[in-house]
C-alpha cells in the first residue's frame, strides 16, 4: 500500500455492509483489488471512476470464466453499455456471488447473465450461445447441430412449463431451486 492508496471511510464501509451481503473484510479486500485495477491518477476518487471491461477481465477469478463478458455487462450501470464497472458495481457483483446471497438473488442474476439478447426470456438463440460458451472455444469440442437441437429440445421439455418455447424467469427459478449444486457453484470469492 503506497502513499497514493486511498482508504475507505468508515461510514461508507458500514453503508456498504448494510447494502450488500459482504462482510467487512470482504469489502476491504474488494477495495484493495479494485484500486489496483484503476489507473494511477484515478485512485484518489474511487467513488466516481469506472474500470473498463478489458481490465476487469484480467482478474484471475474472472479470467477463466466463460461468462465473464456477460457478467460485466449485467452488473455494469454505465450509460454507454460498455461493460465498465464502478466500485459500487464491483461490490454488487461480489455481493451477488458471495456465500451469503440468497437463492433468489443468485437465480435472478444467473438468469440475466444467461439472457444474451436481454429480452427477458431464454429462447433458442440464448440457449445455443450458452451451450457454446460451456463447451469451449475450440471446434473439436463443440456439439454438432443435431446434437445441439436435441439438447435444446430436451432442455425445453424439462423446464418449459407453459410450453411457449422459451424459459422465463419463474421457470428458470423453479429449475434452479431444485438443484443442489447451484448455490455452491455460483460463487466467486476474491
Amino acid at each position: 500500500m503506497g502513499a497514493t492508496a486511498s482508504k475507505l471511510p468508515k461510514d461508507q464501509l458500514s453503508e456498504y455492509q448494510e447494502l450488500t451481503f459482504l462482510t467487512k473484510q470482504e469489502i476491504l479486500l474488494a477495495h484493495k483489488r479494485f484500486n489496483e485495477l484503476l489507473e494511477r491518477e484515478d485512485r484518489q476518487q474511487i467513488g466516481g471512476s469506472r474500470v473498463p471491461m478489458n481490465k476487469i477481465l484480467t482478474l484471475p477469478e474472472l479470467k477463466s470464466n466463460p461468462f465473464r463478458r456477460r457478467i460485466c455487462q449485467v452488473f455494469s450501470t454505465s450509460d454507454l453499455r460498455d461493460g465498465s464497472l464502478s466500485f459500487e458495481d464491483f461490490l454488487d457483483l461480489l455481493s451477488a456471488f458471495s456465500d451469503s446471497a440468497t437463492l433468489e438473488i443468485k437465480s435472478h442474476y444467473a438468469f440475466r447473465i444467461f439472457d444474451f439478447d436481454d429480452d427477458g426470456t431464454l429462447d433458442t438463440g440464448d440457449l445455443e450461445k450458452l451451450v457454446n460458451c460451456l463447451t469451449g472455444e475450440m471446434d473439436n469440442t463443440r456439439l454438432t447441430s443435431e446434437e445441439m437441437k436435441q439438447l435444446i429440445n430436451n432442455i425445453l421439455e424439462e423446464s418449459d412449463i407453459d410450453k411457449d418455447g422459451t424459459v422465463n424467469l419463474s421457470e428458470f427459478q423453479h429449475v434452479i431451486s431444485r438443484s443442489p449444486d447451484f448455490v455452491s457453484s455460483f460463487k466467486i470469492v476474491l
Partner: protein
C-alpha cells in the same frame, strides 16, 4: 446518495411513530433493535474471520473445483466436531483425574507392575502403548473408582459414564442437524433425473475455478457429459445378450461376496493368532507378529477396493450406478472388517473375564493366608490391618477394558501411518517419478500409463468416516484417543492440502459432490449407530474389571447412575422412577411413530398438489394459445358439442398446435376429467374424436 437521504429521513422521524407516553419507550426499543443488528453483524464478521484454513481451501477450490474442496470442508467440519468432543473428554474426565485424583504410583492400578518396570520405558514397549503409556490417563484402567474426589467432591465415575454417553448424543445431534440443513438448502427431495439437462446447462459451471488448466478440463468434461446424456436419451434398452449380462453380473457379485467373506475370515484368524502370541513371551516375537492384526487390516483396506473395481468391469453398468455399487462394496468391506475385529475382541474379553475370576480367587486366598498368619503371630482375630504391599507388587487382574482401548489406539495409529505412507508414496513419489523420469523414458509418462494421480474423493471420505467410527468406539475405553485424533486431523489437513496441490491433477470427469454431501452424512450417521452398539452392549452386559477403571467393584457399569439417583433427594428419585415406567415409554414411542406417519402423508399430499398446479398452468397456457389462434372454431366446437348436433363432423380439423399439447402430455382421459375446467375437457375429447 439515496441511501444517505433515506437514512437521514429515518433518523429524523424515528420515534415519531410512537405517540404520547409511549414515545420514549418506542424510541428506546428501536435503538436497541439497531444495536442488536449491528452487534449481530460484527459477530458474523468475527465468526468468518475465525474459521480456520479458509485461504487454503479456497486455493484448492480454485484449482480443482468445488468437489475436491468439499472433501476438505468435510474434514474441517469433522475437526470441529472432534474438538468439541475432545473438550468434553479432556475437561470433564482427564483434567479432574489428573488434578484432583491420586498421583501416579500411589495405588496399584496407577503403577507399573514390578516385573514390567525394567522394560517400561523402552521405545518398543511404548510404541505398542505398553509400559508407562498403559498405566497413564490415556487408558481406562488408570481411573480411580472413588465416588467423589478432591475438595469439589467431583463425581468422577458418574462423569466418565455420562461423558461416554454424551459423546454419542452430541455427535448424533450435530450430524442430524447438518443433514437437515443440507436437505433444506439442496432441495434434496428432487428426483435426480427430473432436470438432468437443465442442471447440466445452468449449474455445471463452477464459478470458483480460477485456473486456466482446470477450466479447460471443465470444458472438456461438460462437453463429454452433454454428449453422453444425449446418447443416453436416444439409446433404448440394448436387448442384445441380456442373459450374458445378467450372468456376468451374478458372477461378479459372487466373486465379490467371496472376497468379502475371505477378508472377514482372514481378520478373525489373525486376531485369534495374535491372542496366542500375546500368551507367549513377547521378546521372542518379531515386529510383524506383534503388529499382525493392524497390518492385515490396513492391507485389506488398500488392496480390496481396486480389486472390486476390476471385478466390476464385468458388470458393465452406467458409471454413476457403478460408482454407487463400488461405494456400497467398500462400505461392506470396512464394516465387515471392523465387526469381525470386534467379535474376535469380544471373545478375547470373555477369556479375560474368566481369567479375572481366577485371579480374584487367588487374591482372596492370599489375603486369607495373610490373615491366618497374622492371627497365628499376634493372636488377634478382629480388626486385622490390611497387608502393606507396595503398589507395584500387588497381584493384578487382566483389565480387559484397557486391553480393548490399546487395540483401538494401535489400530488408529497404524491407520494413520498407512494413510500417510500411501499419500507420500502413491501420490508424491509417483509425481516425482513421472516428472523426472519422463526425460529419459520411452513413452510419455505424463499422458500414458502412470501419469499424475487424481484425488480420490470417495475413498478419502469413506476412510475419514470409518476412522471416526473407530474413534467413537474406542473413546470410552481410551480417553486419550480423542487427543490423538485431533492431532491426526490437523496434520492430515496440512499434509493432504500440500499433497493435492503438489502432486495431483484435476479430475477429467465432472463429479457432483454436493448431491453426495447428504449421502456421506447418511453414511456417517449409519456408522455412528453401528459404533454405538458395541459400546452400549459392553456397557450393559459385561461386568467391569474388579481392580481397574472408574467402575471397578460394581456389578455393571450403569450401576453408578442408579446409585447416584438413589442418593438424590426423594422427589427427584420419584420422578426418575415414574419416567422409566415402561407404559410411559411405550406411549411416547407410539406417539412418535404416529407423528412420522402424519408428516409422511402431508408431504405426499404436497407433492400431489404440486403436480396438479403444474397441470393447471399447462392447461391455462393451452387455452390461451388456442383462444389466440382460432377463436371462432373453439367457440363453435363448444356450442356444437353442447347441442350434440350431428353435423359435428363438418367442423374443420383444428390448427396444427392443438394436437401437440396432447401428445406431449401422457395423461389419460380420466385424469383430464378430474382437472378443473370442463371446457378443456370437452375441447380435448372433441379433438380426440375428430382425430380418430
Amino acid at each position: 446518495m439515496i441511501v444517505r437521504e433515506a437514512q437521514g429521513f429515518v433518523e429524523k422521524f424515528e420515534g415519531a411513530l410512537g405517540k404520547g407516553k409511549g414515545r420514549k419507550l418506542y424510541a428506546f426499543k428501536v435503538m436497541m433493535a439497531k444495536k442488536l443488528i449491528k452487534f449481530n453483524r460484527d459477530f458474523e464478521n468475527f465468526k468468518t474471520a475465525c474459521i480456520p484454513w479458509e485461504r487454503k481451501i479456497k486455493e484448492v477450490e480454485s484449482h480443482f473445483g468445488s468437489s475436491v474442496a468439499s472433501y476438505f470442508i468435510f474434514l474441517r467440519w469433522m475437526y470441529g466436531l472432534n474438538l468439541v468432543l475432545f473438550g468434553f473428554m479432556f475437561g470433564l474426565v482427564i483434567i479432574p483425574e489428573v488434578l484432583m485424583g491420586l498421583p501416579q504410583g500411589s495405588i496399584p492400578r496407577k503403577t507399573v507392575p514390578r516385573d514390567e518396570q525394567d522394560t517400561a520405558m523402552d521405545f518398543s514397549v511404548l510404541s505398542e502403548f505398553g509400559g508407562y503409556f498403559r498405566y497413564s490417563v490415556i487408558f481406562y484402567g488408570y481411573y480411580n473408582n472413588q465416588n467423589t474426589i478432591g475438595f469439589l467432591k467431583f463425581r468422577l465415575p458418574l462423569s466418565y459414564f455420562l461423558v461416554g454417553i454424551g459423546i454419542f448424543g452430541y455427535s448424533l445431534m450435530v450430524v442430524i442437524r447438518t443433514m437437515a440443513r443440507n436437505a433444506n438448502e439442496g432441495g434434496d427431495g428432487a428426483d435426480e433425473s427430473e432436470f438432468t439437462f437443465c442442471w447440466k446447462l445452468f449449474t455445471s459451471w463452477d464459478y470458483l475455478i480460477g485456473n486456466p488448466e482446470t477450466a479447460d478440463n471443465k470444458y472438456a468434461s461438460i462437453t463429454t457429459s452433454f454428449k453422453e446424456s444425449i446418447v443416453d436419451e436416444q439409446e433404448n434398452q440394448k436387448d442384445e445378450n441380456i442373459h450374458l449380462r445378467r450372468f456376468l453380473r451374478v458372477l461378479a457379485n459372487v466373486l465379490i461376496t467371496c472376497s468379502l467373506g475371505g477378508s472377514g475370515y482372514l481378520i478373525y484368524f489373525v486376531v485369534k493368532r495374535s491372542q496366542d502370541y500375546a500368551k507367549m513371551d513377547s521378546s521372542q516375537l518379531s515386529w510383524y507378529q506383534k503388529n499382525e492384526v493392524e497390518f492385515v487390516m490396513s492391507l485389506l483396506g488398500l488392496v480390496c477396493p481396486p480389486l472390486f473395481e476390476t471385478i466390476a468391469e464385468l458388470e458393465d453398468y452406467h458409471p454413476r450406478i457403478a460408482l454407487k455399487w463400488q461405494l456400497a462394496r467398500i462400505f461392506a468391506l470396512f464394516l465387515g472388517n471392523l465387526y469381525t475385529f470386534l467379535f474376535a475382541l469380544i471373545d478375547d474379553v470373555n477369556e479375560k473375564l474368566e481369567k479375572e475370576k481366577v485371579i480374584k480367587n487367588e487374591t482372596i486366598w492370599a489375603l486369607n493366608q495373610y490373615y491366618a498368619n497374622y492371627t497365628l503371630y499376634h493372636n488377634v482375630t478382629q480388626n486385622i490391618p490390611l497387608p502393606e504391599i507396595a503398589p507395584a507388587d500387588v497381584i493384578r487382574g487382566p483389565c480387559w477394558e484397557t486391553e480393548v482401548g490399546i487395540e483401538f489406539v494401535k489400530l488408529t495409529v497404524s491407520d494413520i501411518e498407512v494413510t500417510y505412507l500411501t499419500i507420500l508414496i502413491g501420490d508424491f513419489m509417483r509425481a516425482l517419478i513421472v516428472r523426472f523420469l519422463n526425460y529419459c523414458w520411452c513413452w510419455d509418462l505424463e499422458a500414458g500409463f502412470p501419469s499424475y494421480g487424481e484425488f480420490d474423493i470417495s475413498g478419502n471420505v469413506l476412510g475419514l468416516i470409518f476412522n471416526q467410527g473407530m474413534i467413537w468406539m474406542g473413546t470410552f475405553y481410551a480417553p486419550g484417543l480423542m487427543g490423538i485424533n485431533i492431532l491426526r486431523l490437523v496434520s492430515s489437513m496440512y499434509l493432504q492440502c500440500w499433497a493435492v496441490m503438489s502432486s495431483n491433477v484435476p479430475h477429467e470427469r465432472v463429479f457432483k459432490a454436493s448431491r453426495s454431501n447428504n449421502f456421506y452424512m447418511g453414511i456417517l450417521l449409519l456408522v455412528l449407530f453401528l459404533s454405538l452398539m458395541p459400546v452400549v452392549y459392553t456397557m450393559m452386559t459385561m461386568s467391569p474389571s474388579f481392580d481397574c477403571g472408574p467402575f471397578s467393584g460394581r456389578e455393571k457399569m450403569y450401576d453408578v447412575v442408579i446409585e447416584t439417583i438413589q442418593n438424590l433427594p426423594p422427589f427427584m428419585a420419584n420422578i426418575f422412577t415414574y419416567a422409566s415406567n415402561p407404559g410411559l415409554i411405550i406411549s411416547i414411542v407410539l406417539l412418535m411413530v404416529l407423528a412420522i406417519y402424519y408428516l409422511n402423508t402431508v408431504s405426499k399430499a404436497y407433492q400431489k398438489a404440486n403436480m396438479d398446479l403444474k397441470r393447471k398452468i399447462q392447461m391455462q397456457r393451452d387455452e390461451e394459445k388456442n383462444r389466440r389462434n382460432n377463436k371462432d372454431s373453439t367457440n363453435q366446437v363448444m356450442k356444437d358439442l353442447e347441442d350434440l348436433m350431428p353435423n359435428k363432423s363438418l367442423i374443420p380439423p383444428p390448427a396444427a398446435e392443438e394436437p401437440e399439447p396432447l401428445t406431449q402430455n401422457p395423461l389419460t382421459i380420466e385424469e383430464w376429467t378430474d382437472a378443473p375446467g370442463r371446457e378443456q375437457v370437452q375441447k380435448c375429447s372433441n379433438t380426440l374424436v375428430i382425430e380418430t
